[in-house]
């Protein structure tokens, strides 16, 4: 019972963190057709900027400055780099963002070193939010979850209740039409890209204080975020929320489950044979918990590429 509750709590907070990063990515893809490989780099940059500000000035200022700076960087990237290769096609845009991800990672290694930095929350935030079954649940995890929920609500309200959101949705559906109605569609694209980047930066600033902050953060999280947006449906905000929670919960539960194919086969009496064969059969779910999301992504891509809630294309 305790395992169930703690794992659910952990899974939900981790999933919400994944959502913070994948929300921007899925919006950008839905709107511009560009799968931004550098999106997880924005997450990493947010963490490092927040680290720098925290160690020189103040933690909360870091949480404020990081998303702003990363958002500005996103705007710069869209306007000056992506727009330039737009004419060469989607493959080229993909490759450009790919190269950018490379450069960001190397720049971080240049200035901060190729090892983790000690970015952590101030001591007064390090208390248990509540105690359940004798185990403390850290407040900061709840804080991460709250920021993510706040972000989702903000995005949802922005998109559905404001005029700007209306224009964004129109530009996503029919860009040329929106443009001929007089809206500045390139500006909209720039804004969406910048906002997506800013949110990823905020996620990095908030999560980097809890999880390790190192130059590999972008790659480690980046691949999982791709899984999330694919499973949720490229372009769908709700889908990405559902998928992030799913993957978060799964990662959390898988650690404690020692199921294996051999165990499954022992239900039909072939357990000992499977164990003697070894190899694939004796791999436990807990040890391959990192592999299953990719399997899920493959299945979704092959069976229903629109994902859980994306539009069929």
């Amino acid at each position: 019972m305790e395992f169930l509750i703690i794992s659910t709590l952990n899974g939900v907070t981790y999933g919400l963190l994944l959502f913070m990063v994948s929300a921007g990515l899925t919006l950008i893809f839905g709107m511009m057709g560009v799968l931004n490989f550098a999106h997880a780099s924005f997450y990493m940059l947010g963490a490092y900027i927040a680290y720098t500000v925290t160690t020189t000035i103040n933690f909360w200022l870091g949480l404020l400055i990081a998303p702003i700076l990363v958002g500005l960087l996103g705007i710069f990237v869209e306007r000056n780099l992506l727009r330039r290769v737009h004419a060469y096609g989607h493959a080229h845009e993909l490759l450009l963002t790919f190269g950018l991800a490379f450069i960001f990672e190397e720049l971080i290694k240049l200035f901060y070193g190729d090892f983790p930095v000690n970015y952590s929350m101030p001591d007064y935030l390090r208390f248990p939010a509540f105690t359940i079954f004798g185990t403390d649940y850290p407040f900061y995890r709840v804080f991460i979850g709250l920021v993510a929920v706040g972000m989702f609500v903000t995005l949802y309200l922005l998109l559905s209740r404001t005029r700007a959101g209306l224009v964004v949705r129109a530009a996503e559906r029919l860009p040329t039409m929106a443009e001929s109605l007089g809206h500045n569609v390139p500006l909209v694209f720039m804004g969406v890209f910048g906002t997506g980047a800013a949110f990823a930066g905020l996620a990095g600033a908030v999560a980097g204080a809890f999880f390790p902050t190192n130059p590999n953060m972008a790659i480690e999280l980046g691949v999982i975020v791709f899984v999330v947006v694919v499973v949720g449906g490229l372009g769908s905000l709700e889908g990405s929320l559902v998928a992030s929670l799913l993957i978060g919960l799964f990662s959390s539960f898988a650690v404690g489950l020692d199921w294996s194919l051999a165990g499954l086969l022992s239900w039909v009496g072939l357990g000992d044979w499977a164990r003697s064969v070894g190899g694939l059969f004796t791999l436990t779910l807990s040890s391959i918990s990192g592999t299953v999301p990719f399997l899920l992504m493959l299945i979704v891509l092959l069976v229903r590429p629109a994902g859980l809630m994306g539009e069929r294309n």
Partner: protein, 432 residues
Amino acid sequence: MLARTALIAALLIVLIVVPPFLGIGWQNALTNMLIASLFAMAFNLLIGQAGLLSFGHAAFFGVGAFATLHLMGAIEDRVVSFPTPLLPLAGAAAGFVIGAFAGYFATMRSGVYFALVTLAIAELLHSLAPHWDGLFGGEAGLSSMRMPWAGLTFGSPLQVYYLALGWAVLSILLLWAYTRTPFGRLTLALRDNEQRVRFIGYNAHTTKVIIFSISAMFSGIAGALLAISNETANYSLFSTHVSAQVVLHTFVGGSTVFLGPAVGASIFTLFAFYISEVTRTWLLYQGLIFVLVMLYAPQGIGGLVQTHIQHWSKISWPELGRAYALAAVVAACFAAAVVFLVESFAIIFSPEYAAARGRLDGTWPPFKLFGVEWEVFSPVTWMIPIGLLAVGLLLLPSARRMLRETWDQILERAEAARTAKSEIQLAGAMER
């Protein structure tokens, strides 16, 4: 045409004759260059010719390496007897089979989704391999030893180099021959208009699977050569870094020209060998070069060379030479400024420098770069990159103008010649 064949022949002669005189460090570097070139050529079969961008080609490279190591282990334990020079066949076979399997599923999708499927397959292997001891040797990987055959011990890096050279040249020849076959033409057609290919009566999916398998097969040969050279392989061969490197190499070299990827791979591997001992910031330069090529020369270096060859007779060399000289000056200024800044920052932000500061109680000692000592807070130090940047920025507009004008003229002349030729042809046709 003749010039091109002569150039390639000369290159081959150099590759055959020179290495015995080089140290083993260089021989190893050349072997790595050959492996990277072959891998890039195999990768380009998919993107350059079939228009399918794969982000997980490391999967087949790695599979080829592991298959070869298993065979090497079997030979070492005297379970089978197999000629060592033919070891890459194991890599080819494994690459082909796994490629067919993976390709069947991957080619069900196109565009971004195809890329994501290939990425997922590679990541799947990458996360599964460390746990699968039997097939992939777990975290440590597999290790074996090259066994002698027909009097050759294959103990020295030189013999490994010649083996790699033989297989690389053979494979690239086969790839070139492939482009000459009707199936090769079909591949190009697939990239241009898949629907039309279907309408002609071909099964597009089967065609794509075959192309994917062939590309994976040659990637497997490249992986096999790596396994033979290093006598070891572990799960890190499936990492995104390996897939990323082949993408970088191919596009910097130019994916529209046949030998473009090999050029890109060679330049990068040789540069990495030369520079990586001197500076650890090599990867940053690699990324910057890639992004610059993507932005300003989307056809890559090979594409640039190709354009020059195409318009050879229309080029007025004195004019173009002047434009290029100016552009070279601008590029040199920017490059020098960037290198100076990056290298300075690399030193100032390094842990060794921080330790030196700790020893001197927090003062900022001067750092050594390019043989000169620089003060950290002196304006002289920073004036140099800023000055270089300023000069570059000043000259940039004129350089761009000169380049644009010269090339506009060249293209005009080419266009004029073409219309003149077609007029003659039309006139000739009318006469008939």
